[in-house]
């Protein structure tokens, strides 16, 4: 069935909340406003305000509360209105959620999902346009997921909710209205498995979240010139499925990584390092990264577009390897 990304997330949470009373949704305006991006449409009507909980604008407080509830055996889903606001809750995420299991010698668990949109939308300014996945991936004890399609969003969110660990689930404002085919009925997608989204022989492009759509668009354009790109979506950023990319690079010998986050210490740097360490001999050229610019996001659309990877830059990167 065709669903929007937004509807897919809604279905995933709804199915899981019907299955397990321990799951609740908490965040700013998730109940009666139905979520800032309407992801929790119909939830308070179905599950009631005990399980769909509006909070004051206190990310540290309610994220910490959710972590404590998870320590006590509940399965909270925290909606951050945007991932940018997660910075306010970073102490809770990094110092508590990620460490409690290890510090307690395995006595405590934090089965928790923190989800919300990351990356830029249009002209939201510097404080609302950040791609922070590399920060979260850097911290031991967290899993990080950034799905690009409605099908992946549904299957991976269900897995994230069932996971006994804290999971950062990064959506994108510009993906909420995108549509795609979603498998009928009950299904989950295991965490930590990449998917080849397009087969090709000449070059491998790795891209996640909304950059996947850009990579696929670039692959189509390149195909018209006779260049066949293989496009891989890691889907889960931590744990990272290196093997699927290595297998592809052994075939193509070339790799381009597309990411919206800042260049310096971005996730692509880690992916490249992992590839060099395991598949150096298969690479015909150095790995190319297409990334966001190392600047706070400007407001002006012209400048904003210049700060984010776009079609010409991806195509140029691919061609530079051929």
């Amino acid at each position: 069935m065709e669903l929007s990304y937004r509807e897919a997330l809604n279905q995933a949470m709804r199915e899981e909340m019907r299955r397990d009373q321990r799951i609740f949704l908490i965040g700013e305006d998730v109940a009666y406003y139905q979520g800032a991006f309407k992801v929790s449409k119909g939830f308070v009507e179905e599950f009631g305000p005990q399980r769909v909980i509006d909070t004051p604008i206190t990310e540290a407080g309610f994220t910490g509360l959710a972590i404590g509830a998870a320590m006590a055996g509940l399965y909270p889903i925290v909606e951050l209105m945007t991932m940018n606001f997660g910075i306010v809750a970073l102490d809770q995420i990094v110092n508590n959620a990620a460490k409690i299991r290890y510090m307690s010698g395995g006595q405590l668990s934090v089965p928790l999902v923190i989800r919300g949109p990351g990356s830029a939308a249009h002209q939201l300014g510097a404080q609302h346009s950040q791609s922070l996945e590399a920060w979260f991936c850097h911290v031991p004890g967290l899993k990080v997921i950034a799905p690009a399609t409605p099908h992946d969003a549904k299957g991976l969110l269900k897995s994230a909710i069932r996971d006994p660990n804290p999971v950062i689930f990064i959506e994108a404002q510009l993906l909420y209205s995108t549509k795609g085919e979603v498998q009928e009925g009950e299904f989950i997608i295991p965490i930590g498995i990449a998917e080849v989204k397009r087969m090709g022989r000449d070059v491998t492009i790795v891209a996640y979240s909304k950059m996947l759509l850009l990579a696929l668009e670039a692959a189509d354009a390149l195909s018209r010139e006779g260049i066949e790109a293989e496009v891989i979506d890691p889907r889960t950023l931590k744990p990272f499925d290196l093997q699927t990319i290595v297998t592809s690079v052994k075939k193509t010998g070339r790799l381009v990584i597309v990411e919206e986050g800042w260049h310096f210490c971005g996730l692509g740097a880690q992916i490249a390092e992992s590839l060099y360490a395991t598949a150096f001999d298969y690479l015909d050229n150095p790995i190319r990264r297409v990334t966001g610019e190392d600047i706070p996001m400007p407001y002006c659309r012209l400048l904003e577009d210049a700060a984010i990877p776009d079609l010409p830059r991806v195509i140029e990167a691919v061609k530079s390897l051929l």
């Binding site: 407080g61 910490g64 509360l65 006590a72 409690i100 010698g105 660990n165």
Partner: protein, 324 residues
């Protein structure tokens, strides 16, 4: 003192004595480099942990900050496993991965010590939230120092607890200093810290934190209120730490005088209870000598257990980062 029998009072004294002697021994072990890192002693503040926890059920939650040995021991944790954790041994409560500031004992519902000031207070509201969500009549007790009181996370937690009428008791152990900074230079309402909680609509009171019976009496009443679903409560327990902030800090340091420390030592919580019992002829020197022998043996055995235990294996390094 009415309605308290001799055995009951001796039991309170015994628990405070265990914390006192355990920590004196851990300071010795620190000097011998058996314990490293940060070691924050609770000496002088024992009446709060013992008096408060004595009024709880075994399935209530307790959570604390980094000065957590006393709360953990008062909750009933095995002193040997606590000492082994301080030694970094595999038999420690947290397999040597937590250390002094991060003791956790889940079977005793001791949900941990946390070392980012104010950061565990939201966690405490989450434990309380879970109990309310499940309609359980359990309470959560959250200990923190007055140094955490001005932190934003404390205020966010107070607001949430009051807003959602969570079954939680915030116990502010006001020992007058956040490390070396006195409360009057850190807290706008230093003269009446309970006012902070009242401003969120939380019922708040102050109690003499040197008097274990005063703490317990207050807590018995408060626990009943909170267990009955009458919302959160805040108790300021006034106290004093006889030792430095941590082992890196001498007993009085530059920020307070020797005389001030000596003055507070006259109100040592162990001394107060002992004197009261002696005056009322509920116990004599023989009883206290007997307790000293008994506790001395427990602490000696705890050190022996820690000494005899193995360190974790290198192969344990990556275990327990994630749950399978």
């Amino acid at each position: 003192m009415v309605d308290m029998d001799r055995a009951d009072l001796l039991s309170l004294y015994r628990q405070m004595l265990l914390i006192r002697r355990f920590e004196e021994k851990s300071a010795e072990m620190y000097a011998l480099a058996k314990i490293a890192g940060f070691l924050h002693l609770y000496i002088g503040e024992e009446a709060i942990a013992v008096g408060a926890i004595a009024s709880l059920r075994p399935d209530d939650y307790v959570i604390s900050a980094y000065r957590d040995h006393g709360h953990c021991l008062a909750r009933g944790s095995d002193p040997g496993r606590v000492m082994a954790e301080l030694f970094g041994k595999a038999t420690g409560l947290c397999k040597g991965k937590g250390g002094s500031m991060h003791l956790v004992d889940l079977p005793h519902r001791f949900m941990g010590g946390y070392a980012i000031v104010g950061g565990h207070i939201p966690l405490a509201t989450g434990l309380a939230f879970a109990n309310k969500y499940r309609s359980l009549d359990l309470v959560t007790v959250c200990f923190f120092g007055e140094g955490a009181l001005p932190s934003g996370q404390a205020h966010e937690a107070f607001n949430l607890a009051a807003l959602w009428k969570l079954p939680i008791i915030f116990i502010c152990e006001n020992n007058r200093y956040g490390m070396g900074t006195p409360a009057e230079r850190a807290i706008a309402l230093y003269a009446n810290v309970a006012e902070t909680a009242r401003s969120y609509g939380i019922t708040a009171e102050s109690v003499d934190g040197m008097d274990v019976l005063a703490v317990r009496t207050a807590m018995q009443r408060v626990v009943a209120e909170v267990r009955a679903g009458h919302g959160p409560w805040f108790i300021e327990a006034t106290t004093y730490r006889f030792m430095g902030h941590s082992m890196a800090d001498p007993a009085h340091g530059h920020y307070r005088t020797k005389e001030e420390v000596e003055e507070y030592r006259k109100r040592d919580p162990l001394l107060l209870l002992k004197n009261a019992m002696m005056t009322q002829k509920l116990a004599d020197e023989t009883d206290f000598k007997q307790l000293e022998r008994e506790i001395g043996e427990i602490v000696r055995a705890a050190v022996q257990f820690a000494e005899d235990s193995a360190f974790p294996a290198r192969s344990d390094l990556h275990a327990d980062v994630l749950q399978e």
